[in-house]
């Protein structure tokens, strides 16, 4: 099914190509167009991202089976298509949330870096070759390292960037070592060729297990799952809030997209191994994330630990690896995108108004801005997995998939963790709805782009929470096509 002629291939990767052009354009404009209105670049970026989304819908809709393009480097299927939508939407929302945060002199760089990292994510989700995957991961990560340290004059932001970089460099080195072993064994870099070399009759399972662990290190870092989660709280706290939101949603989704694919297409010969390791990581992430979140005083740190726990829930679906598990993980990631961006968006609003992202800064939020409290409340309840909010159905699917696969214990650990999670989310609701308004705090100003972003997220949280069919259809299609082998 290799693409027959370059024009078709070009068309299939048109969204990625346009992203590169967009990044260049934004950078160029920021240099030459000195007298632009303050938010011109923001809107250009959003328009560009939406255009990419449209191009993907028009030209790269995977109507028929998967296509391998560029000599087998990339695979265009429903999974890569769906995740491309996730990344583009997430990036557009992040740009909206970023509005006030951008230091005016760095606006062009900020946006261009963000776009570049989205470009990398799109490649990650589509990679069908370990070399391509490694490149994609680095293209994604490098801009994010810089973005995390974007407010480099603040100690915490600089620290965040450095920590993220060191952790990322270390884990990706380990992963690349795994890749080199895969190459050494198979002499190939394409997924399907490697998978053939990993068949149990050709390679002892213990060796596959070793390689799998090395590769997994990189992924667990990317999705901020235990035991490679340590970077998350410090980085989320120090990084600009919108970037923290972006890291926790789009970047995590990219990690999961690539993980789901590599599990199915490379390590498919050893399902027990996959289940054992991933279930262990899932349980560890849920426990660590939820129990450490209980004691946090800073909302961004709390959201970081909660995001570790959420990675654990999603890993349950990935560990099970059935169509239901995979589609559950995908649905979860879509729900999580709007949910967590809403939460980080609300944090951005409050912290830019009050200069604090401590939980105490949110007390009495309901009296200061009822709509904002409602949106943040919906996001927290969605994280907690309560209907009628999006996160409920994501949890429903992944836990169902665990029971379906006979791993009732995993589902039980999952639901018990959901109870712990609900405890601290409800506590936050209490802070917002019951606690007195701090003295001397005025009304919160919410500028238009924030309103727009929060509105879109809130609508997403609700729509994904009770209208399941279209989203589940796509998630299911992606999972089915992935598991087609």
């Amino acid at each position: 099914m290799t693409g027959s002629f370059p024009a078709a291939m070009l068309l299939k990767s048109l969204p990625e190509i346009s992203l590169v052009i967009l990044a260049g354009l934004v950078l160029l404009l920021s240099l030459v167009w000195k007298k632009r209105p303050p938010q011109a670049l923001t809107w250009i970026t959003i328009a560009g991202l939406m255009l990419c989304l449209l191009l993907a819908l028009l030209f790269a809709l995977p109507v028929k089976g998967p296509y391998l393009i560029w000599g087998g480097l990339l695979k265009i299927d429903v999974l890569s298509f769906l995740f491309r939508m996730i990344f583009l939407t997430g990036a557009a929302l992040t740009v909206l949330i970023s509005v006030e945060r951008q230091p005016s002199q760095g606006q062009g760089e900020y946006l261009a870096l963000l776009i570049t990292s989205v470009f990398g994510m799109c490649l990650m989700a589509a990679s069908a070759d370990i070399l391509m995957l490694y490149l994609a991961i680095e293209i994604t990560a490098m801009p994010l390292f810089i973005l995390a340290a974007f407010q480099f004059r603040q100690k915490k932001s600089a620290e965040a960037g450095l920590k993220y970089f060191l952790y990322g460099a270390m884990t990706s080195t380990v992963m690349v070592f795994g890749f080199s072993l895969l190459f050494g064994i198979s002499g190939q870099t394409g997924y399907s060729a490697i998978a053939a070399a990993l068949e149990p009759d050709r390679l002892p399972v213990s060796l596959t297990a070793g390689i799998f662990m090395l590769v997994l290190v990189g992924f667990l870092f990317k999705v901020s799952a235990a035991p490679f989660h340590f970077w998350a709280p410090d980085v989320y706290e120090g990084a600009p809030t919108p970037i923290a939101g972006f890291l926790s949603t789009a970047s995590k989704a990219a990690g999961f997209a690539a993980l789901l694919r590599i599990l199915q297409e490379v390590f498919r010969a050893s399902p027990e191994l996959r289940f054992g390791l991933l279930a262990a990581a899932a349980v560890a992430s849920m426990l660590i994330g939820n129990f450490l979140a209980l004691r946090q005083k800073n909302l961004k740190r709390l959201l970081a630990y909660s995001s570790i726990a959420q990675a654990g829930y999603i890993l349950v679906g990935a560990a099970v690896g059935t169509p239901l598990g995979a589609s559950g993980a995908i649905y979860y990631l879509i729900a999580y995108l709007v949910t967590n961006l809403a939460a980080f968006g609300a944090v951005a609003v409050v912290s830019s108004n009050t200069g604090s992202d401590q939980i105490a800064a949110f007390s009495g939020l309901n009296r200061r801005n009822a709509a904002l409290a409602l949106v943040l409340g919906a996001a927290l309840l969605s994280l907690g997995g309560v209907p009628v909010f999006a996160g409920f159905f994501g949890k429903f699917l992944v836990f169902a998939s665990a029971v379906q696969a006979g791993a009732v214990w995993l589902a039980v650990i999952g639901v018990l963790n959901a109870v712990v999670g609900l405890y601290y989310y409800l506590n936050l609701l209490k802070v917002m709805y019951l606690d007195p308004v701090p003295e001397g705090s005025g009304p919160l100003t919410v500028v238009f782009p924030w309103k727009a972003a929060l509105l879109v997220c809130a609508a997403g949280i609700l729509v994904l929470g009770f209208i399941y069919r279209p989203w589940y259809h796509w998630a299911d299609l992606a999972a089915q096509m992935l598991l087609l082998h």
Binding site: R367, F399, A400, L416, D476
Partner: protein, 490 residues
């Protein structure tokens, strides 16, 4: 295609809840008017359902079914039988009374009435569900309004603790039950959450024996089953009056109802296997709850623990698994719901005027608020199972049913009648009669709205007590259906 009565019933409060959230808090009058209209509609419609005819399919009426997510066999599927119809009426009664007694909420009325309407929609949704997913969906929909209402408008001393405890307990019970629901779904191999289809799945005996306790007890946590009952008094006492009424009056029935519908109806052989355990736990509930109620000094805690005791009778009725037991349980759910709602309403009225719930500091209140005293006494008589009141017609069948399967249960739990009589009479004498303490001179009588609530709920209990056929005929039909699932005669 029949008019979608049940959907209108469920979505009226839901729509009201959403509309209320969009109004400014300044418009308190409009907010109250909308809440009152919506709850009046719910009450009217839930009562009207008794008289509207509708084709009967599989024992259910007013059936509506719309695909929700057909890939997983999830549908929006509602319908009622004789068992759930009185519960809808109960929800309507309590919703309407709840709005009336909360008329004067000053602090953020928009949020108060909106969350209250969410709660009402949640319970109505559960009572009409014929789809497991949908039932669970509506069940969990109550999580945030419950918590926020207790925390925001509850009594300041215990609201944070009580609200969190109640919410987490119930969430825990329901998510554990959810794992059981998943097992049921995959175990049946039918790829559907449709309860009518799952009833016919013929699940293997071993499967039913493993999963029945998980599902039944998981949901029965919300009915206050021993040893998972302590959230109930703490939560109900901490809650504001209308929420106590709804939580103890209706939400506890939601738990019992889900335990019955899913636990017993879908896993009948599991229910037969474990009936002894439920009988045992139910008996402990009845006796221990009554003893705890007697030991309380706080008026609201007395009622809180009495609910634990009375819900035990519902569980015993269920576990008897025979005609009398189930019929009694159905009647008791309705009777206890109305009774406890009235109890909490009166306690709220007393507290609003005296600012204390300490039994020792109260006295002679009948002099100032005779109708409140009347309501409390009627509830008390219902609670004691006095003939002529709804409690009698509900409890007698339960004892009869229990006697047939396990006489010791009937004997031991009948002891609770004496204990109940003791603490109720004690409370009535101390609070409403006798000397008026110095601190309580010149209290105002209760408001006309409150009088309306007291009269309405009292009359319902007397009516059911005198003419039990009003609701028991329908419940019998529902019971026969369950008995068929249990394998005919028992």
């Amino acid at each position: 295609m029949q008019f979608p009565y049940l959907s209108v019933l469920i979505f009226t409060p839901l729509a009201a809840a959403v509309i209320l959230l969009l109004l400014p808090n300044r418009q308190a009058r409009l907010i109250r008017a909308i809440a009152l209209t919506a709850s009046a509609l719910v009450l009217g419609l839930s009562a009207a359902l008794f008289f509207i005819s509708s084709p009967v399919v599989d024992g259910y009426r007013f059936i509506e079914k719309i695909d929700w997510l057909p890939e997983l066999g999830i549908s929006y599927h509602v319908g009622v039988d004789g068992f759930s119809l009185p519960l809808l009426l109960l929800a309507g009664l309590v919703a309407f009374s709840g709005v009336l007694v909360s008329w004067n909420v000053q602090d953020r009325p928009r949020e108060f009435f909106s969350f209250f309407m969410f709660l009402v929609a949640s319970v109505l949704g559960v009572f009409s569900s014929l789809d497991l997913f949908q039932l669970f969906f509506f069940f969990e929909l109550a999580v945030f309004p419950k918590y926020l209402m207790i925390v925001m408008w509850g009594s300041p001393q215990t609201r944070e603790y009580g609200g969190m405890k109640l919410t987490l307990y119930l969430f825990l019970g329901s998510v554990v039950a959810l794992v059981g629901v998943f097992a049921l779904y995959f175990g049946s191999g039918l790829n559907t959450f449709d309860m009518l289809a799952l009833e016919k799945a013929g699940l293997p005996l071993a499967f039913q024996q493993i999963w029945f306790p998980v599902i039944f007890i998981g949901f029965a946590v919300l009915a206050g089953i021993f040893p998972f009952y302590s959230w109930a008094p703490d939560g109900h006492v901490a809650a504001p009056t209308a929420v106590s009424m709804l939580l103890a009056g209706v939400e506890m029935k939601v738990g019992a109802f889900a335990a019955l519908r899913i636990g017993i109806e879908l896993l009948p052989q599991g229910a037969q296997h474990w009936a002894w355990l439920i009988l045992l736990l139910g008996t402990i509930n009845v006796v221990y709850g009554a003893l705890l109620a007697m030991a309380q000094k706080d008026l609201k805690y007395v009622i809180g623990y009495s609910s634990v005791s009375h819900m035990g009778l519902v569980l015993i009725g269920f576990a008897a698994l025979n005609q009398q037991g189930l019929l009694g349980a159905g009647l008791q759910m309705f009777s206890h719901g109305v009774m406890t709602a009235l109890f909490f309403a009166v306690v709220g009225m007393v507290y609003d005027r005296t600012h204390t719930r300490d039994i020792g500091q109260l006295g002679g209140l009948a002099r100032f608020m005779p109708l409140a005293a009347f309501g409390f006494i009627v509830s008390g008589l219902v609670s004691m199972g006095m003939p002529g009141f709804s409690g009698f017609v509900a409890e007698i069948p339960i004892y009869l049913g229990a006697w047939r399967v396990a006489p010791w249960v009937a004997v031991v739990s009948a002891v609770s009648i004496v204990i109940t009589a003791a603490y109720i009479l004690l409370v009535v004498r101390r609070v409403f009669f006798g000397e008026v303490p110095q601190s309580l001179s010149a209290l105002e009588d209760i408001h006309t709205r409150d009088k309306l609530v007291v009269l309405m709920l009292s009359l319902v209990m007397i009516a059911v007590g005198l003419l039990p056929g009003l609701i028991s005929a329908g419940i019998s039909d529902g019971v026969n259906r369950i008995l068929q699932l249990l394998g005919g005669s028992l």
